[in-house]
């Protein structure tokens, strides 16, 4: 093989490998994969000049137009408390209490990051009766449930995003594990 051909072949292989690695890095990255709190991943530097090149690229793909931490914190879960991927054919019990923010919402998305299931698409703090704010439960299931419920539409994979708006301390500290909801798997069909 001529020298020029060798340079050309490995040059093309290098460019394709670099391009492919970058695309894989961004596509495989979870929104806020730099901090893990139980099943939830989060980050504090979304939308700021401080975020890394990788974080900026992942946020652009998975959460374009996300607010900075002082305005909102985003927590995303694609696994349950036991680390199992969230499966739309299973039911889950989400249990939480007072969350670190002036108000919050919990939303279910398909693996591409879009709403699914025909609604309800989210549960937000105003829907929780005052007497239950310290201890509330949301059921996530492919079939309608009594009480607060989010449909999974039977998807193979889904994820949950918890938004807390106007967090204390301008979002500069991460909550402890027990300040965020637990995600427990129940029956699977």
């Amino acid at each position: 093989m001529k020298p020029l051909v060798r340079y050309l072949v490995l040059g093309v292989v290098g460019v394709v490998a670099g391009l492919g690695s970058a695309i894989y890095t961004v596509r495989a990255g979870a929104l806020g994969s730099n901090v893990q709190i139980g099943p939830w991943t989060t980050g504090m530097d979304f939308g700021t000049a401080d975020q890394s090149m990788r974080t900026r690229a992942v946020v652009a793909l998975r959460g374009l137009l996300a607010l900075p931490a002082r305005e909102a914190r985003y927590y995303t879960a694609s696994v349950d408390d036991a680390g199992r991927p969230l499966n739309g054919r299973c039911s889950y019990r989400i249990t939480g209490g007072q969350l670190p923010g002036r108000w919050w919402s919990l939303t279910l998305y398909d693996s591409a990051g879009y709403l699914t299931g025909g609604g309800p698409y989210s549960v937000e703090s105003a829907a929780i009766p005052a007497e239950n704010q310290a201890r509330w439960t949301v059921l996530v299931s492919p079939v309608r449930q009594q009480g607060l419920w989010l449909p999974t539409a039977g998807l193979k994979h889904f994820d949950l995003t918890l938004r807390t708006y106007l967090p204390p301390d301008e979002g500069r500290t991460n909550p402890a594990r027990d300040q965020l909801p637990s995600i427990r798997q129940e029956a699977c069909s």
Binding site: G18, R56, E71, T107, G113, Y114, G119, E124
Partner: protein
């Protein structure tokens, strides 16, 4: 035999690293530009498009919040700065944020910080002349998005919120 491949191998590795970082660094601009183009097709450029509450049919942006009413102004500053005026709406929370070409937030302010008063800002690139006395938000890059988020904690309130938000405006200022 192997020695003949060392030079090409080094070139391949260098190009792989370069391609990796160039792709990673350019992807936010590319994705933002695609989003601006998508919004432009839906409602025009340098003007607010008032979106309905997000559903499973919504595809304008990923991970829309179904609890928020979004009004988006995709902007292009190539012909001059942009004047944004936001009127108060009957909601517990609303905010204005400005995202620049690389997706970073150049400005964010909510109704609580603003004591529920109207907001007026001028978005401009470095070096662009702006009206005297204006609150100026400087951005890097000419294309981006200004976004109003309004909390709709009760869908019954949406019609009143929707009517009120249409008083907000976003328009190019002729270059002076």
């Amino acid at each position: 035999m192997m020695q003949r491949w060392i030079g090409p191998l080094i070139v391949g590795v260098v190009l792989a690293i370069a391609a990796y970082f160039v792709t990673l660094s350019r992807s936010p601009q590319t994705l933002m530009s695609a989003a601006v183009s998508r919004m432009e097709r839906l409602g025009g450029i340098n003007t607010f498009g008032h979106m309905p509450l997000a559903t499973d049919k919504s595809r304008a942006v990923v991970r829309p919040s179904p609890d928020l009413a979004y009004s988006a102004c995709p902007f292009d500053l190539s012909k001059g700065p942009l004047a944004i005026s936001v009127v108060p709406v009957p909601a517990n929370y609303w905010s204005l944020s400005v995202f620049q070409a690389n997706t970073d937030v150049a400005f964010v302010r909510n109704n609580i910080e603003g004591r529920g008063q109207p907001m007026q800002v001028v978005v401009a690139q470095e070096g662009q002349a702006t009206p005297a006395g204006a609150a100026v938000v400087r951005v890097k890059g000419g294309r981006g998005v200004a976004l109003i988020r309004i909390l709709v904690d009760d869908p019954a309130r949406f019609p009143a919120i929707d009517a009120a938000r249409r008083g907000s405006s976003c328009k190019a200022i002729a270059a002076g």
